[in-house]
Amino acid sequence: MRRTLLEGFTHSPLTEPPPSADDAALAELAAKVDGAARRRLGRSLSIREVDAGSCNGCELEIHALNNAFYDLERFGLRFVASPRHADVLLVTGPVTKNMREALQRTYNATPDPKWVVAVGDCALDGGMFAGSYAVTGGVSSVVPVDLHIRGCPPRPLDLLKGLLALLEWQSAG
């Protein structure tokens, strides 16, 4: 173990330079007017991830945000275990009918001010699963959505760009 730890000092970090915030995401966010809430939070956001019916592909890439290459926490963004501690709900999946109530209750349990980021093509409008008896058809059909990050699944870099846009917009308020 010692050798592995010592190497951490001698090798340069794998963490990559941050991407610039996504322009489309900034444009979507610009439509929101909530300056007071934005100022209250400063440059740090706690994120609660909610899988509302995803195939788990989005979860894999959200997980990757915590690896050494993307290192989400350096931006002041971190995942928390409870909606009570969260500023942001990161929601994946087409929202199955079986998860609708759980998502609604998670949203209600999250204190204001809060933002909802819908991740993945099926979170936008149900995607490939739209029209099934078992899905509602997108996150915005259940809770208000502030930002969509597209992709099937979105790459970690796309997730990062979207979240950085949220952070930038939010601290600029």
Partner: protein, 503 residues
């Protein structure tokens, strides 16, 4: 074994079901097949509804021969298999909830997958109905002094899929875990019905995102069997490359995550690096980190990028340099071993009875691996071993993964060295009429089953069975008499798919 062969020999064979036969049997013969399963002469591979019939896929323990038997349900019922053979219980409950077909004699008649939130009852039956008033779900009763219950989920604390776990504990010791799943049920089988083969392949590839390659492969196997077409050799090798990259990425993720659940984050961080390297190599080769939609019926959608082989070789070199030291780190860290050794033991008997595949089966002595047992190309020409251990604990499930990583590295070497030239796909031509196909593919988690009926190039009916169906119930057994705090560790060592199971 003669008994099963006799039953099937006397039944009416269905034409156009490939590659293994399907036979329509009488209710009595159906019961006899269930008795063969209960006696341990055969393994249940799948049990699913289809309009007014129920199909059961069984595999002989010797020779791994597969048969599909079907029973017609003119009165809306069929003899329960689960009454004799417990691994069938959840599958039958799902058939009842989705198709409204009643398993006669079933011991557990509670719904499964249907949590009471749909606008229809029995959505896949010929005549879906309006649901009645939802009744509260009755968890199994628990009696005894000093017991308390811990309900967990569907929304969990980590970045994982939703499901409900109901623990009953005596102090710290779990005396019973009961799972309730279905939260991510998307109705994929209803979307598959009527879809084109092309569209259906994409849906199949989104049944469980971590196994998108395995699902696409199983689905492609089924389509190619139904249409009786051969895939070009280059496509076989590229498919295997994708499958092994998927296995490597997931095993690295799992090994790290298991250690992380024992609060040993160093392993997690380093395994995360290897996982990311594999995903980037996959992206460089096939244009998608998870390789979604890379495998299509008839071959592969994209050829490997010109520098893809080099990228994979570089990645393999890095893994060969870093991974052995991580294995050493895992093996030499006493505090970590303290958590994984003898934790969450699954008996060989349970694994055999449930026909559990993947690392869950192989850590408890069940050697089945579809790559070996069915030897689909190119694995019939590649050299590899299927590592099998017998301890059945979290540690054994970690070690099976470690050994499988080593095997996959050797497989990727062989695939790259022997990658044949030529076409990467054949065009599918629509046959006249109905055809049926059955496919298996070995994913990182175990064998994925795909069964379908085609009308030309349109799916009439398709069933996909995740390996988790036969692993989730064993997790309930594994946690018994372990402490609550070891559940994340046990759960991660299984890493069952919620989405693949819920479908």
């Amino acid at each position: 074994m003669a008994a099963l062969a006799d039953i099937i020999a006397q039944a009416r064979r269905v034409d156009g079901h490939r590659p293994w036969p399907r036979a329509v049997v009488t209710p009595d013969a159906w019961r006899a097949v269930a008795a063969e399963l209960a006696a341990g002469h055969a393994t249940l591979l799948g049990l699913w509804g289809d309009g007014g019939a129920v199909h059961m896929a069984v595999m002989s323990e010797v020779g791994y021969d597969i048969n599909v038997v079907s029973v017609e349900c003119p009165d809306g019922n069929f003899p329960s298999v689960g009454a004799l053979h417990p691994p069938a219980i959840r599958l039958e409950r799902a058939i009842k909830s989705l198709y409204g077909l009643e398993p006669i004699g079933a011991t557990d008649t509670r719904p499964w997958l249907d949590l009471g939130f749909w606008d229809v009852q029995h959505p896949l039956s010929a005549h879906p109905q309006q649901p009645g008033e939802p009744t509260p779900y009755a968890f199994l009763p628990v009696q005894g002094e000093g017991l308390h219950r811990i309900p967990v989920g569907p929304v969990h604390a980590g970045i994982i899929e939703p499901g409900h776990f109901r623990f009953t504990a005596n102090g710290e010791t779990v005396v019973r875990l009961e799972q309730r799943l279905g939260y991510v049920h998307k109705g994929i089988e209803s979307l598959l019905a009527g879809a084109t083969v092309e569209k259906a392949a994409q849906l199949a590839g989104r049944t469980s995102g971590d196994s998108t390659v395995a699902y696409a492969l199983a689905f492609a196997h089924a389509v190619e069997a139904a249409l009786n077409i051969a895939v070009p050799p280059r496509a076989h090798y590229l498919r295997a490359l994708m499958a092994e990259l998927e296995r490597l990425a997931n095993h690295f993720g799992d090994i790290g995550a298991i250690c992380n659940d024992a609060s040993f984050t160093l392993m997690h961080a380093h395994c995360g690096i290897l996982r990311e390297r594999v995903l980037r190599a996959a992206d460089a080769c096939f244009g998608h980190r998870l390789m979604m939609d890379g495998i299509v019926p008839g071959g592969v959608a994209r050829d490997i990028a010109a520098d893809g082989g080099m990228r994979v070789k570089d990645t393999l070199a890095e893994i060969r340099w870093r991974f052995p030291r991580l294995v050493e780190l895992y093996d030499n860290t006493a505090s970590l071993q303290d958590r994984t050794v003898k934790t969450g033991v699954v008996s060989a008997e349970l694994v055999r009875q449930f026909g559990a595949g993947g690392y869950v089966g192989r850590a408890s002595g069940r050697a089945f691996d579809a790559r070996k047992a069915q030897a689909y190309p190119p694995y019939d020409r590649l050299e590899f071993e299927v590592p099998v251990l017998t301890a059945g604990d979290v540690n054994a499930r970690v070690w099976v993964r470690i050994r499988e990583v080593e095997q996959s590295l050797a497989l990727v070497d062989q695939i790259l060295a022997r990658l044949p030239d030529g076409a990467i796909a054949v065009r599918l031509t629509a046959p006249a009429g109905i055809s049926e196909g059955f496919g298996l593919a070995e994913g990182f988690r175990g064998d994925v089953l795909a069964w379908l009926r085609l009308d030309g190039l349109r799916v009439v009916r398709c069933h996909l069975r995740d390996p988790s169906w036969f692993q989730w119930p064993l997790l309930e057994a594994a946690i018994e008499n372990n402490i609550v705090a070891d559940f994340p560790l046990c759960n991660k060592s299984f890493n069952c798919s919620y989405s693949g199971h819920d479908l």
